[in-house]
Every structure is written in structure tokens, then in C-alpha cells.
């Protein structure tokens, strides 16, 4: 049996309906594998991170302490600060490893070209926003990722990198003192780390809504790699 490469398009006849179906291999194994492992680790990192935050739920001084927000226990993981730190310090490595493989694969394979947001995509963002949020007409789909998707996935990747860098400063502010200084010191790195987390959570929420709206065929493509009758095929 032949193997799919990203971009491979095959055609087959549906046994029952006799319709000709085309399928494109959109997501190579490395990307799918990293996607799922990274999603699990992100979920665990957010939940344990919130528990860690609850040990000092403030961005001000300790004395006097003014709490910024209280996260319900049910949204957190780890039970107590020490337990949450264990989850965080374990899954950060899976998160970083899948992130590196994901980025490395994109760069080495050239796959990034279809998803990296560039200034050329800028004019296409507004029409997609109008379509999704204000019921505007749907712009013609000519490529696997539309400009708004590119913007979302590129931003999420940047946020992912920032989450690791701000986290590194929180974990080892002395060894990464140069990075710490860039971020305005340990204290601000903690604010950035939290802000980046919020950004990632927003992305995930938007992402999940889109996945639900786009249905089963689209969802399955992140499991098998293959998408049946994608719109962008001429």
C-alpha cells in the first residue's frame, strides 16, 4: 500500500453511492502526534498552573496581599501546591518536546508555508472575520488554511513559545537572568506567563468552537490525516 505525503490527493469510488470522493492527506503523522500529546499537556499545564497560582493568587506584594482572583478548585489539578508543581514540572517536558518536534517538522519539511501567517494574508483576515462573526458571505477557499486560520495558528504557536520562555524565567530566573531582564524581571515574568496562558485558553476555546462547527470530516482529519472532499481542491 502506498503511503501518503502531505499534499497527496487520492480519489476513490464510494461503494454504496458510486460517488467519486477525493481525499487529501493534510496532517502528517508527526503533526497529528504532537497535536494530541501537546493538547493533553497544555490542559494539564493550565489546570496545574491555576493550582500553583492559587498558592499566591496575586500579582502584587505579599505584604499586604491583595488577591487578584480565585480559581474554583474543580478547575485545578494537583490538590495542593506541591502536587500541582509535580504535574507542572512533569508535563512541561512533554509540552516542550512536542513543541520542538512540531516546529522542527514544519521548518524542515516546508509544511510551514501553508500555515504561517504572513503580511500577504492580511487582506484576507477581515472577510473571514465578517463571515464567521457577522454572517458575511463566505470567501472562496483556495488553500488548506484560510488567512484567519493562519493568523490563529501562528499566534497560538508564538504564544506556545512565549509560555515556555516565561515559564523558564519563573523556574530559573537566575540562570535565565538575561531573559528575565527582557521581561521586566521575575515579577513581570509571572504576569506574562499568566497572560500567555489566558491567550492560549482563548485560542483553545475558539479552536474547539470551530472544530464543532466544521463537523466530523474535518475533525477526523486530525486523527487519520486524511480529509474527504476538502473545499480548496479545484
Amino acid at each position: 500500500m502506498r503511503r501518503g505525503k502531505p499534499g497527496t490527493v487520492i480519489a476513490f469510488e464510494a461503494a454504496k453511492t458510486r460517488n467519486l470522493i477525493r481525499a487529501a492527506y493534510e496532517h502528517p503523522f508527526a503533526i497529528r502526534f504532537c497535536h494530541w500529546l501537546n493538547s493533553v499537556s497544555l490542559l494539564i499545564l493550565v489546570a496545574s498552573g491555576l493550582r500553583i497560582f492559587m498558592a499566591f493568587p496575586s500579582f502584587g506584594p505579599k505584604v499586604p496581599q491583595k488577591d487578584f482572583l480565585h480559581v474554583p478548585r474543580s478547575l485545578t489539578l494537583g490538590g495542593w501546591l506541591g502536587g500541582a508543581l509535580q504535574w507542572h514540572f512533569t508535563f512541561l517536558w512533554i509540552y516542550v518536546a512536542t513543541g520542538i518536534v512540531y516546529l522542527g517538522y514544519h521548518v524542515l519539511s516546508g509544511h510551514y508555508r501553508q500555515v504561517l501567517f504572513t503580511p500577504r494574508d492580511l487582506p484576507g483576515v477581515w472577510p473571514m472575520v465578517r463571515h464567521y462573526f457577522f454572517f458575511g458571505h463566505k470567501p472562496r477557499v483556495t488553500q488548506p488554511y484560510n488567512p484567519l486560520q493562519k493568523l490563529a495558528y501562528t499566534s497560538a504557536t508564538v504564544l506556545g513559545v512565549l509560555s515556555v520562555l516565561t515559564g523558564a524565567v519563573l523556574y530559573n530566573p537566575v540562570q535565565f537572568s538575561l531573559l528575565a531582564r527582557l521581561m521586566g524581571g521575575f515579577h513581570w515574568a509571572r504576569v506574562w506567563h499568566f497572560a500567555v496562558m489566558c491567550g492560549l485558553v482563548l485560542f483553545v476555546v475558539g479552536h474547539l468552537i470551530m472544530v464543532i462547527l466544521h463537523g466530523w470530516n474535518n475533525f477526523v482529519s486530525m486523527l487519520t490525516g486524511w480529509k474527504k472532499n476538502p473545499e480548496y481542491l479545484p
Partner: protein, 239 residues
Amino acid sequence: MDWFTDERDFKRLSRRSLLKLTPVVLVGAFAIPRLRDSLLEKGLAFSDWASSKWFRAGHAAPTYPDSELAPLTQFPLNSYDVDDPEIDLGSWTLKVSGEVQRPGEYTLAQIQGLPKVRQNTRHICVEGWDVIGRFGGARISEFLKLIGADRRARFLYFECADDYYESLDMATAMHPQSLLCYEMYDQPLTRGHGAPLRLSLPTKIGYKSAKYLTSLRVTNVLARKGYWEDQGYSSFYGL
């Protein structure tokens, strides 16, 4: 179009693709309580190992001008710390044992006789707060010289007048900013801050800077790692 096939073939192709993802399910091991604890312990140990690898003996923690100091009154005392062990400061000594040439009891005057270091450094608590304070004392490395410690030993093990205890790796102990601290803000340590002697370790997380020190053992083997470490916190936790 790259090739034609039939539906059965496509389904087989998809199924094989899907099955290759099954290793992801291994993360489910973390849902099994017995496996979870040992996996998380390994994860924490791996983090400790990594952070001990990028610890640089010659790299100083940032120091700050006096204008950035938090006032002593705003230097936090965790509720745990205010249980004053009521040390008799007059008869206090530090009991030294283990891999040292000159074991025995050392007085505060002997420690204060070593070159004094004063530094404004950031104290970072595992809870997430941080505070810049002024610490004064003797370098641990100087004290190790005084007691003739074997520097090939792996750890320093401290016991405190309360039920706290702590361990420190030799590399961090030898760091020039690691202090046996007897002053804060140019005043003798107050009882709340660990009088008469505490650690001040700008390259370690806060809970490593133990207060109310009573004994030091230089050792290769640790029966206990530390008050918090033995409850599941990181034992290296370098900053």
C-alpha cells in the same frame, strides 16, 4: 490527483494512520493512581536534574540598589515561620559533623569572624511571591574552609531549632552568594527571621533558606532531603 483506489483501501489507509497515534493513549497511565505517583516523582526528578545541569557556579544572581529594597516590615513571614522555637541566643552554637576535619560546636562569634558579605538579593517563594531584601553574613564556602569540609562530599544537611531541616548540594553551597546569614537590613536577625543564624541562598527557591540553624552535617548520603522536599517538593529547585 496522485492515485486512484477503492473505498476499502482508503479505509485501511485511514485506520493504519489512526492506529499510529495509539502511543498517545499511554498518557492515560497518569490516571492510574499507583503509576501516577511514581511517574510524577520521575518527572520532578528529571526537572531537578535538568536544572542542576544548567546551574552555573560562576553566575551571580542579580543584586539590587538599596532603593529597590522592600522595607523589613514588608518582608513576609509565612505562618509556619512565626512559630518561634525560642532559642537561647546566649548559649547557641552550630554543631558541625560529618565529612569535616574539625567537627564540633561553633559559636556565632566564630562565624562573624569570617569575612562579612552584604547583598541585596531577591528572595523568591515557591508560592509565587518575591521580595528584595538585604542580607548579611559569611559565605558558606568560607565556613566550609574553617571547618575543613571535604568538598567532594555531595551535600550539606542542616537541622533547625524548630522541626525544619534542609539539604543543600555542594555546588550551590560553594556559590559566592550562598550565605550563613546573621543579619538582615544590617541588623542582627530578628526571631521571626530565624535568629541567630539562617541560610540566604539567592540561587535557590525560598524554602531552601532554612532559619534557626542548629546543626550542619557534611555528607554524601541524605536520610531526609528537607522538610518540604519530603512532602513532595523539588529537592534541587535552583533558580
